[in-house]
Symmetry: C2
């Protein structure tokens, strides 16, 4: 076994409560169900990767992901990083989030250039209007504006009439002081999606995201044809084939990616550039991820994205994974050279549900 052999692989299963429940079309998220992968090679190099499972957004469940991650850890111990990366790629189609935790940990271990930050860089992020009721919404919006946010996200997709009124209220309260991204998270039928865009005042609306079910491209196209605001696809998009399809069908001006859909930082950067090459605009960021995943996405956004990032999940969590906080100032993540992510194990202890550790010893014994 060489010095690059993966000597220790640890997977931790965490349940991290949110400061307030995060309302999505398919239900409220009360906590992040997060797997953190830690890989260490014999030569001392190490890497971390995150998967925060969001059942409803993908088919992955935390129980299945945890079970699979434990097995994968056992398969990778004793391989070198390239061989491990190859093994992980086989898991990507079935379990993209889980595979990403391993794939990115291996990239970090291999000191991927994607995570290198030469000078302090501001990565603007959007704010989420998570409140309901005019008074609470007004307070939330003024707070976000005061904090420097110039792009706000509004969630719809649960009840048509209420959603129309809700967006109208946001627009009235905003008075054009920030762009609005409207996200239905697949919550609308084609008919409701069409009714929604017909009722929508386009003033200040940057885009309307994923009205219909991920696999129902016809429904999406029907809504897109009726829409007077630009469309974005999110849940419908996983790999390059989906991106090509979106361009071919002229289904959207924007395509949103998340690191956890792509498996690796390298694949993410490639996909973002492909979106641009096809004449669309890439949007990046995971609103349901901890600081580790958001930091990685911010590093990629710094090179490949020119609009507000959606990697703000860590701001919703009651605890951070990393010792060193991810700094946010003036509605932007501040990336600094030399940022060295280390798990805050003591702080995470109360949120740690399970731990799985594999070493490469089995191979040493076998070959002895």
């Amino acid at each position: 076994m060489g010095e690059g052999t993966l000597d220790r692989i640890t997977v931790r299963r965490l349940a991290i409560p949110l400061t307030v429940p995060y309302r999505l079309a398919f239900g409220a998220v009360e906590r992040f169900d997060t797997l953190v992968v830690e890989c260490a090679a014999r030569d001392g190099r190490a890497g971390l990767g995150e998967a925060t499972v969001l059942t409803g957004y993908t088919d992955e469940t935390i129980e299945d992901s945890w079970r699979a991650a434990c097995e994968i850890a056992g398969e990778l111990a004793g391989l070198d990083a390239p061989a491990a990366q190859h093994r992980i790629a086989l898991q990507l189609p079935q379990r993209p989030f889980t595979a990403t935790a391993f794939g990115t940990a291996l990239e970090m271990l291999e000191q991927s250039a994607a995570l290198e930050i030469a000078r302090e860089t501001a990565v603007p992020i959007l704010g989420v209007v998570n409140a309901s009721g005019v008074e609470a919404m007004s307070r939330a919006i003024e707070d976000l504006l005061a904090a420097g946010y110039r792009t706000l996200k509004v969630k719809v997709g649960s009840a048509l009439a209420k959603d129309i009124a809700h967006v109208g209220t946001v627009q009235r309260l905003l008075r054009g002081r920030a762009r609005v991204r409207i996200d239905a998270n697949q919550g609308f039928s084609a008919a409701d999606g069409i009714a929604f865009v017909r009722a929508l005042d386009p003033a200040g609306v940057e885009l309307f995201e994923q009205p219909c079910a991920a696999a129902d491209w016809d429904a999406h196209l029907a809504v897109a044809r009726s829409s007077n605001v630009p469309m974005m696809l999110d849940e419908s998009i996983y790999g390059l084939a989906d991106i090509e399809r979106a361009a071919e069908l002229q289904a959207a001006r924007y395509v949103k990616l998340k690191l956890m859909k792509l498996g690796t930082l390298g694949a993410l950067a490639q996909a973002l550039e492909r979106i641009r090459a096809l004449g669309m605009t890439p949007v990046l960021g995971n609103g349901v991820a901890c600081d580790l995943g958001c930091w990685m996405e911010a590093c990629v956004a710094a090179r490949h994205i020119d609009n507000a990032g959606e990697m703000n999940g860590f701001l919703k969590a009651r605890a951070q994974l990393l010792e060193e906080p991810l700094e946010v100032r003036e509605a932007a993540i501040r990336l600094r050279p030399g940022f060295a992510p280390r798990l805050a194990l003591d702080r995470l202890e109360p949120y740690t549900i399970a731990t799985h550790h594999e070493s490469s010893r089995r191979y040493r014994v076998r070959r002895a």
Copy 2:
């Protein structure tokens, strides 16, 4: 959740090399592939249980057992011990060894009377003649006799003519100074088994164990009918139904059990007594188990067995699981009151391949 809730469950996967390879009909064992289960309740009670997987003896493989044990640990966290015991029982038919690690850990946690030792008790064990070549065999036999062993085990079942000669050599070297148990570990066809017993000098032979495949009762009966020494069944016997069948068919005078086949100390004691009630003689003990499993079997043997125990696996291992050594003097395990098994974690570190830990926190979070 009550005070009896299982709060922490840890499974460790160990690979413990043997001092010398252990030769069995289906191959040489180079190391013990061992799972150790540790359960702890909120009230501080804790228990340990062992499964040392021996593929070939059962269908269980260490990879499958490890995977299953990780899943089971997750299912048990947050239950109380009786509910957990019920859940484990469902795993017994498919994975008896793995289930036993959990079942016995729960019994120890519940302070099972089966593990209580009121006064120092000697549990005689047998010695294994593992050498080949007359000189080495002679030395091994004299050493065993000098150490007090009065029952010796000889392994056959790999090559008929060699086996016949081997047993003859043992008998010649022994000159009646100890009983001989001959074990074929399913290695013979019916024809070879018959040829073997016809060639066998019955002098000093206590019994002949499991000549043929576990499921091939006809082959066993054919050998038994030709045999002039008492027969024992081992691999053919799992539960009570097999014991009844052995009695009904008059297939054996001896029936051998191992804790890891039965799932719990309670079920083991019950099965041993059933063997006796049916007019047969129970034999107990696992030659492929560490000190933890052997200690539990010795506790049961102290109450239920009147011949040499086979729980000598721990004497073959290069490392012991427990802090406090299991004392052997004059060819007997010396059970002492107040023996408190604790894992020797530091000493086991080099042999620990993987660790899986589950807490009941997930339930606390869910119900919050």
